[in-house]
Symmetry: C2
Subunit: 334 residues, 2 copies
């Protein structure tokens, strides 16, 4: 069983990390252990993993009556862009379902219960690996707002710009390429009007070795005039006339944004941290020392070491001479 679930996780990871829907994989297995079909969700508007696996089994000429479905996420029981997966599994005669994560989406949840009420042996079989695939999406759905990654590049001593305002380039090429890869995995990039006026960034995803990466929505929050800036060169961009992080996230949530990278400047990043709205931090740290300039994070009203925000599930990755430290600031399942 663990093997079939691990395979379902592999399949799930073939789906896009961005987009309004989670990444889901499904494996259909006969009572004798034969794999009958496999499927995964390829993004909003395409079949969910379960119908995709049922289609695959049909294409292979297999009857799935009495089979067990291994799914990385609880099958949905509602009609969105596609019909309920609970119905598709029931119609196909599947006898048992093992799902690795319970669906936190109030609209889609309850699929396990629906299946059980129909006499199908549906069991929640928790899997950390399956949970990690959709960690950001699950956090977004649970909180009813986009998952927020705060990203910045700093010197070892925590400065993002020198006293004269210069910030190009804190970190090197590998770190910048990595950040472009992250952009291609999220739904939106958000910066303040100050950053647009100071740096005029394109805010596009340009990961190396990827010809046509997904381009996230570009969002600019704040009141200053950014007329003519590069960020407005195509229509995949919105202005949010507010300084309030909650309002900014509401505007993004309305566009089905599940993950957003807040790329600064420090004022915007600090506002999100102060509001308790940062779920994940990506700090690219150059082996450089400035001693003065702009701090990566400004006053949060925290006066004592015991009150510091504390991250977990930390990773440290060498990127050329730079180091990327990532940490989560929202708890996982205990």
């Amino acid at each position: 069983m663990a093997d079939h679930l691990a395979r379902a996780v592999e399949l799930a990871l073939r789906g896009p990390a961005h987009g309004p829907n989670p990444r889901v994989g499904c494996v259909l297995v006969a009572p004798d252990g034969t794999v009958l079909g496999e499927g995964w969700h390829r993004g909003a508007g395409t079949p969910h993993a379960e119908p995709a696996a049922l289609d695959d089994a049909r294409d292979r000429g297999h009857d799935v009556t009495g089979a067990t479905a291994y799914v990385t996420l609880e099958p949905c029981s509602h009609t969105g862009r596609t019909g309920p997966c609970t119905d598709a599994l029931t119609r196909a005669g599947v006898a048992a379902v093992r799902y690795a994560v319970e669906d936190p989406n109030p609209l889609a949840a309850g699929g396990g219960e629906v299946l059980r009420s129909r006499g199908i042996d549906a069991t929640y079989a928790p899997s950390r690996a399956a949970w990690e695939v959709n960690r950001r999406w699950l956090g977004a759905v649970a909180h009813g707002r986009p998952w927020v990654i705060a990203k910045w590049a700093q010197t070892l001593d925590g400065r993002t710009a020198a006293a004269d305002g210069t910030s190009f380039w804190v970190t090197g090429e590998e770190a910048r390429a990595h950040a472009h890869g992250v952009r291609a995995e999220v739904d939106a990039i958000l910066v303040g009007t100050g950053t647009v006026r100071a740096d005029d960034p394109a805010l596009s995803a340009r990961p190396p070795h990827v010809a046509e990466p997904h381009q996230p929505l570009r969002a600019v929050m704040g009141m200053s005039d950014t007329f003519g800036a590069k960020v407005w060169h195509d229509e995949n961009a919105i202005a949010i006339r507010s300084h309030d992080p909650h309002e900014a996230l509401a505007a993004l949530e309305a566009r089905e944004v599940r993950t957003v990278v807040v790329e600064g400047g420090g004022t915007v990043t600090t506002a999100f941290l102060r509001a308790g709205l940062v779920d994940e931090v990506h700090a690219y740290i150059a082996p450089a020392i400035l001693g003065s300039g702009t701090n990566a994070v400004g006053d949060l009203g925290i006066g004592t070491m015991g009150g510091a925000l504390r991250g977990q599930d930390v990773t440290a990755t060498a990127l050329g001479v730079d180091t990327l430290v990532t940490a989560f600031f929202q708890r996982g399942p205990q």
Copy 2:
């Protein structure tokens, strides 16, 4: 040959990292490739690597006439606590010497030339691995002052203490254990009187799983009164009545200190950085965010990003939830 030199490097690493002398290994090899003897330097006052290897060959009943000596450092030609290694090699009838690093010590250098003048085939065979063994010692001797490691523990956003002055504990147990291991490898620890008054640290080396680690000299610089502090509980400690990093290093140099860890506070660390006297940085970075408090590094008079101090040969090591970033700020051989 590379194999014999690699073995000599292994032997060198058996010696102590601290102490006034470099770590040196030596392998004596017969013309037919037989290893005749091995030796390494065990610290000041004990035989150098070459006599140790000659002793080993004698103990094994081997004649070293015509042998080649592979040594990680140019053999010394002066009489310090022991006699010149050049004489020992000559007397033993060694025909050739391959040394991997030239001795930068003006008192001891020139050993290769002495050997050649006596008809011995002595050749400099550069090795990065052999150089790394004594990187700190070589830097200290080349500059005529102790090698300075600046060490601090900071939050991700570069703070070492909160606004109310609290700094216990920025980092976790693994990071602190690692720092104690570094203390056991150096000759001295230096802090300012302010740190002694604020934290009253013992400044001892307490690496886990080491019963009796080497205890470095404890040095306290500055003018404030530290009477009765823990640092004075035994005699392995000195007071340096100065705010000048150059004076502090001169006082340590006079005690044959080759490596010193500057552990703060920020004022002392900043003074060393400002004076261009930091060779290596160890920043222990907690996945914590404060947003205010004391910056790890204060004003260095650097106003623009292009002027930032830039480290190289960076390492990033996960220590529990913390990350240790190390970098060198003194150039190696090009």
